[in-house]
Symmetry: C2
Subunit: 491 residues, 2 copies
């Protein structure tokens, strides 16, 4: 089984179990040393006020105990806003909301033009929006309330309350990236009376069931590296066997040394996951400019990684090359003396995704034989057993497509719904599970060949290439059209 | 407070409480003697097979205890069906499903033309679809799972499963009357990937918040009687004071006698509710032909009631006239020796609506000074206190409009959604809370001046007036258009 059901930008956090060695199943643990540092800084580098909204724990049952309230965090900026002007809402995803606000400078960039109120709503069970405080992740009993339908209802209630209070007539536009983009698109579909339109960036709403081929994600990662250099692809593809051989012949101590691990590795799989993670995330954030979303990285980091791999002397081992390449991902800032490969910390509180992947967000993925990763299949039985062991629940693999659709989406939405932009960058492997063709006159796909994971949401910079400037220009133009229509419909 | 938050065709079953006399609040108890008899007959008079589907109790949380399954009843008829042909689904409402199947002969009538599979799905917590068996109504702990969102998810899961099993390519059309019509319309809006279109008959989706004037329901009842005869209206309007006077001056024993009550009345309000119920339901089922939905009744029963009222000798009291008129409703079949005014039984298991009205289905209603009913206001505080006392929960009065919309529906759906027919008959007071004007080319209102509560769903008869034949013809034509479009979109 491959890096299967995965968080939108972090891979599934089901830790290695006893079954690993025998069945070749493994799930990587995240390793984000640099993020930990960011989290230590409590100050926001972004101009938002923090607020909390009393939210119902359970919107869909009416039990006395479920009249339990929790406080949902949201960030707000009314600097540019005037009464009646649009409200731009970011539908938060699986992490603390400041992080998404920091990485969605686009909304701040366009706010003056629209005189928009900006709101970033934190997703329940992430960041500080913890319904059961530090016990929120204790068991299925608490985690049960962590899911996308409850999150969408949170957004609806909060936005509605805000509209009632501030401006009934303001059109609401929802923005979201990655899982947040899925939520934004679904929000427009389920709550058209609350949001006029959605900009869903890098939203793989079709990564469920067998709508998108299961190999497409890792094939896309592979393509990114192959496009950079054929040799690079071959080195990575060959490195997994070398890793296994070194581990078996020289042992974990030697492996720990060659990976510059801060502690002795407990398993070859930790090293493997560390490499795997670096390649996947680098493909996702293969941005055209220097950026720091997952990690600080140079412009076009895939190309830079491949330069490292290709630049080694001819006799260098594949393993030494890939370790060096992965080090670009983990240590571009050159501040790390060693790598925390075994005991990574989850700086952004992202581990809730593990629960979501074990319940509703079942996204099967496999690696084909031409992939740069070892071939793998998706073993649903083993996956669901792991979920059962970990949480005492079984996944509902077809629930998302029942609740939100996805199959034959072109036919279903051709004559239903409106005002959704699906923006994607084809460098991003998640693009393959998104909507890449226009569905109707107002359900629109904007895909760029060179873009990566919601690159359009990043703050504009002077180095931005023309295609990115143009993609953002089209987004603004379309949103403006929706707003004009909205006002003319009221006349 | 008037006959406020009301079930789609039965009034709210919150029984009289201590507050009644002081605040003029009252809620009628249903009195449906004749229905009890129908329920005693276990045989279906309709050609359906009964099936049960294992359904998740809670679709929106993932707790281990909520993996509880219950068995949802549905009726099915595949006599006319062939593979790939449409599936017509009735989205069940607040009663046993056989009752709705019996009163929705329209689907059976049109099935041959479409070669349609017919499915009637029972709503959770009604009929035999009781998640906790006979304990289902025990408390909020069990009743918490009784609500419209869970019901819609039930429909989605069952229909999806049926499509997977029988025919992936079949278009699904949902049909519903009254609250079932609200569910059908909402189902098309929330699950467009499951249902191609909806025929929502007499579905008052706008009876929430202050979208529809609170007086409109009782004003419409009043109008029906006024249209039949001005004198009839005046007699009914004046009868409430007479009722109070007789009760105060002659006592409950005399009142019991004049109402032919089987038992001694405990309160003047029981008699009042009995009258009130008869007038409201007769207006609702003011059908152009003899029918037996709520009760067996002649064609145009409002006119017949007014004939009784107008036909008394000049000196007859108003009270004696209205009692005689109400007796038409309760005893058209002339089988009742006395009336069970105090202890009516709930033959169709409709009392679950009381819970729904106390939680999500808050439909404020008042009587204006020109109403044929005593003027009244809607006292939300008293209402919510009653709900708290009865169930330990507070209503969420704005939840339905947050979840399903309704405010400014013309603007919201003008460019969103498709394929919904809102059919109404203007005799039906619920019509005022429905959609009475076309919203777009495919969100269509079909309203008839003389129609009553989902009369279009009744089996065709030779006595049907032209306007009814024409309404049904248009419905069939529109549904056929949706299906043609569906097939051409697949090519």
């Amino acid at each position: 089984m491959a890096q299967s059901p995965a968080l939108l930008f972090l891979l599934l956090f089901i830790f290695a179990t006893k079954t690993i060695e025998s069945t070749q199943i493994f799930f990587p643990r995240a390793t984000h040393q640099s993020l930990i540092k960011q989290a230590k800084d409590p100050k926001l580098s972004i101009p938002y006020k923090t607020q909390f909204f009393p939210q119902l724990l359970d919107h869909f049952t009416f039990q006395p105990q479920s009249s339990k309230i929790f406080y949902q965090k949201y960030l707000i900026n009314d600097h540019y806003w005037e009464h009646g002007a649009p409200i731009f809402v970011y539908t938060g995803n699986e992490g603390n909301i400041e992080w998404f606000a920091e990485n969605t400078g686009f909304m701040l960039d366009i706010a003056p033009k629209f005189r928009a109120l900006l709101v970033f709503i934190e997703h329940r069970f992430y960041g500080e929006s913890l319904p059961f405080g530090k016990d929120s992740y204790k068991s299925a009993k608490t985690l049960g309330y962590l899911n996308s339908q409850q999150a969408l209802a949170d957004f609806a209630v909060l936005i509605q309350s805000m509209k009632n209070l501030l401006s009934e007539v303001s059109p609401v536009l929802v923005f979201g990236g990655s899982y947040g983009g899925m939520l934004a698109a679904w929000f427009r579909l389920k709550y058209p009376h609350v949001a006029l339109g959605a900009l869903a960036s890098s939203a793989p709403i079709l990564q469920f069931d067998d709508i998108t081929p299961w190999t497409s994600f890792y094939d896309a990662v592979t393509q990114d590296f192959k496009d950079a250099s054929q040799n690079c692809y071959e080195v990575i593809k060959g490195s997994w066997a070398e890793l296994q051989a070194v581990s078996e012949q020289k042992g974990l101590a030697e492996l720990s040394r060659s990976f510059r691990s801060c502690e002795n590795l407990h398993s070859m799989y930790s090293a493997r996951n560390w490499l795997w993670t670096a390649f996947v995330y680098t493909a996702m954030v293969n941005y055209p400019t220097e950026a720091n979303f997952m990690m600080p990285l140079p412009a076009y980091p895939v190309r830079e990684m491949c330069k490292i791999i290709d630049g080694f002397p001819p006799r260098a081992t594949k393993l030494s090359r890939v370790v060096a390449a992965a080090s670009l991902y983990y240590n571009y800032s050159r501040t790390e003396k060693c790598f925390k490969i075994e005991n990574a910390t989850d700086a952004h509180g992202l581990h809730g995704w593990d629960w979501q992947a074990c319940t509703e967000m079942v996204m099967p993925m496999t690696c084909s034989k031409d992939s740069m990763f070892p071939p793998s299949t998706f073993d649903y039985k083993a996956f669901s057993e792991q979920c059962m062991r970990k949480y005492g629940v079984l996944p509902r693999p077809h629930w998302i497509t029942t609740e939100f659709g996805g199959n034959r989406i072109e036919q279903v939405l051709k004559r239903f719904g409106s005002n959704i932009i699906f923006s994607n960058g084809m460098q991003d492997p998640w693009s393959r599970g998104s909507v890449l063709k226009n569905i109707s006159a107002s359900i629109i796909a904007l895909a760029t060949e060179k873009g990566a994971h919601h690159v359009d949401f990043r703050s504009a910079t002077k180095e931005d290439p023309d295609w990115l400037v143009e993609q953002r220009r089209q987004e603004v133009e379309i949103i403006q059209r929706w707003i004009n229509e909205y006002h003319s419909d009221f006349k």
